[in-house]
Symmetry: C2
């Protein structure tokens, strides 16, 4: 089996590749080849024995998408994209990368005339307020960011290309991935991770929104699990509605802080400093608080059940079990 990962140098991309290499197989088929693309340089996994091709390219550039699928990868994980904050600040870049890049990939597959599995990472940013207290699977998409718009459009394209038989697509709407390791990125949701990650590393973290803000989270480990699971779903299981809201832990910022206190103690939790930021507040206010994700749960997607578990996953996977008390 030959697997292509776009956005392979990103946080989820790197974790997905590591998991694929560790598993050595996907849905029971041995992984024989990897193609990894990103706009920045991608490292080759050291412990994979098969041929690995890496390329530094933007899918929206002429020819880049055709090159990415030239050797007809069986499964494509399409993760490439600019994040919400950046797509909001740079209108043209957001549409170029997130819409034109995705469309170029789908068109390249159509031109290559074969039918790969395409797993697309969408986002709960496809939803836009006002909401009822919980969002059902058949709730409409009225995004309030350009990023969410680009993801919603990509979902529609993926569904139509699937319906027409050009590919076998599945879109998964990731909740906020938390705790993100490493440096903050430009996502407006970054603080949800920052208020856990920084205190655990002995550093102060800024909290730009009220403690009452509710949001849905899944760990990077769970997000990678969603991608792997999505790749194994059949067309018959998915039916015509191939874009799915993923499950997650719905909790308030205050509950996040309390979970941090339970897992790591008062001293760690005290490193969170409240500093309201109107732009972030405004963006976050338009996001979904809670999703049923009934179809995804029925199809076997699994997330954590408590925010404490999300913190523990971070401590295990990123901190070697150690926190700065």
């Amino acid at each position: 089996m030959h697997i292509l990962v776009t956005g392979a140098a990103g946080m989820i991309g790197r974790k997905l590749v590591a998991r694929l290499v560790k598993d050595g197989q996907l849905n029971g088929d041995a992984i024989e080849r990897l193609t990894l693309t990103d706009v920045v340089a991608t490292e080759k996994p050291t412990d994979f024995s098969g041929p690995t091709k890496t390329s530094t390219s933007d899918l929206s550039s002429p020819g880049a998408a055709a090159k990415a699928v030239a050797e007809k990868p069986d499964v494509i994980f399409h993760l490439a994209g600019v994040v919400s904050g950046e797509a909001e600040i740079d209108f043209e870049k957001g549409y170029r990368v997130n819409l034109d890049g995705t469309r170029a990939l789908l068109e390249a597959i159509r031109a290559a005339d074969y039918k790969p599995k395409v797993v697309f990472t969408s986002s709960i940013a496809v939803y836009g307020a006002p909401f009822s207290s919980s969002i059902a699977d058949d709730f409409h998409l009225t995004p309030l960011t350009s990023y969410g718009t680009q993801k919603a459009i990509s979902e529609l394209l993926l569904a139509d290309y699937t319906r027409r038989g050009f590919l076998d697509g599945v879109g998964i709407r990731l909740p906020t991935v938390c705790v993100r390791p490493g440096k903050p990125n430009k996502a407006a949701s970054g603080f949800f991770s920052g208020i856990i990650r920084e205190p655990l590393a002995g550093q102060e973290a800024l909290l730009p929104v009220a403690d009452s803000v509710r949001h849905t989270h899944a760990s990077p480990r769970a997000a990678v699990g969603f991608l792997i699971h999505a790749a194994g779903l059949t067309r018959a299981q998915l039916g015509p509605r191939i874009n799915l809201a993923m499950p997650g832990v719905s909790c308030t910022v205050g509950e996040q802080v309390e979970a941090l206190r339970r897992v790591a103690g008062d001293k760690v939790a005290a490193r969170i400093r409240r500093e309201p930021d109107e732009l972030v507040q405004h963006i976050v206010a338009g996001w979904a608080e809670r999703l049923h994700a009934t179809r995804a749960r029925d199809l076997g997607f699994k997330a954590e059940t408590a925010f404490d578990d999300i913190i523990r996953a971070h401590i295990e996977d990123e901190l070697g079990g150690k926190i700065v008390a």
Copy 2:
């Protein structure tokens, strides 16, 4: 006031222009200039005293959209597009005209750096089965045709361009416009009109689906009314959710036939011949049967209340009151 109509040579386009010319004003402002574009030649209205510019161009062609908005029309009715059957048969043409053409228009407006009112004709083809018995305004869009996909994507773009302040958009999801005058077009919904229009004109009509098929209809007169009404809605009235399902008459094909019998007699109704067509049946089976259209009704959009009225509107507007008995 300067008004641009794209798709001005189409059935709705011609009727809209005739209505605008007859009214002489839109939302209380005198209409001073008209710009009319279409891919085929557009006739200048004979009874309009102001300057009228017509152009034969495809908005997706380089420079065409910029030219269409070069003189900064205050209100743009964007009706141009290829119909459902054609977009399904010619994948590339559908995406080029319906998606790239719309995006080119929005981009041209953004580049022109002003903020016109943009009224976009979407379609209930944005919905896709399975449905509950009636579709609420917050039901999700899962189109089952490329045409519906292109309309749903255009709605998302229109909403984002509106949110970003580049224009002031409103999308109206037209139910099936019935009775369409003139020759059949390539829309899969064409028979809904054909089974009324042809018998009234003394000709046989083919009915490709079962009498039990339910669908929602509005007359061409009502559709033009929707467009005019939409142009008068303010940003405050619309809020962030600018794309609206329009009201209509929900009835079965059997009820259409009975209405024809009531309005025009048994002899006329007997001119309908049942000839099942699997492709049409398949496409129609994926369409919405009935819509709440609660928001649209609350915002003052008005449709007919019975199919008999739709038939009478056709006899008045197209047949000079005369039917071939």
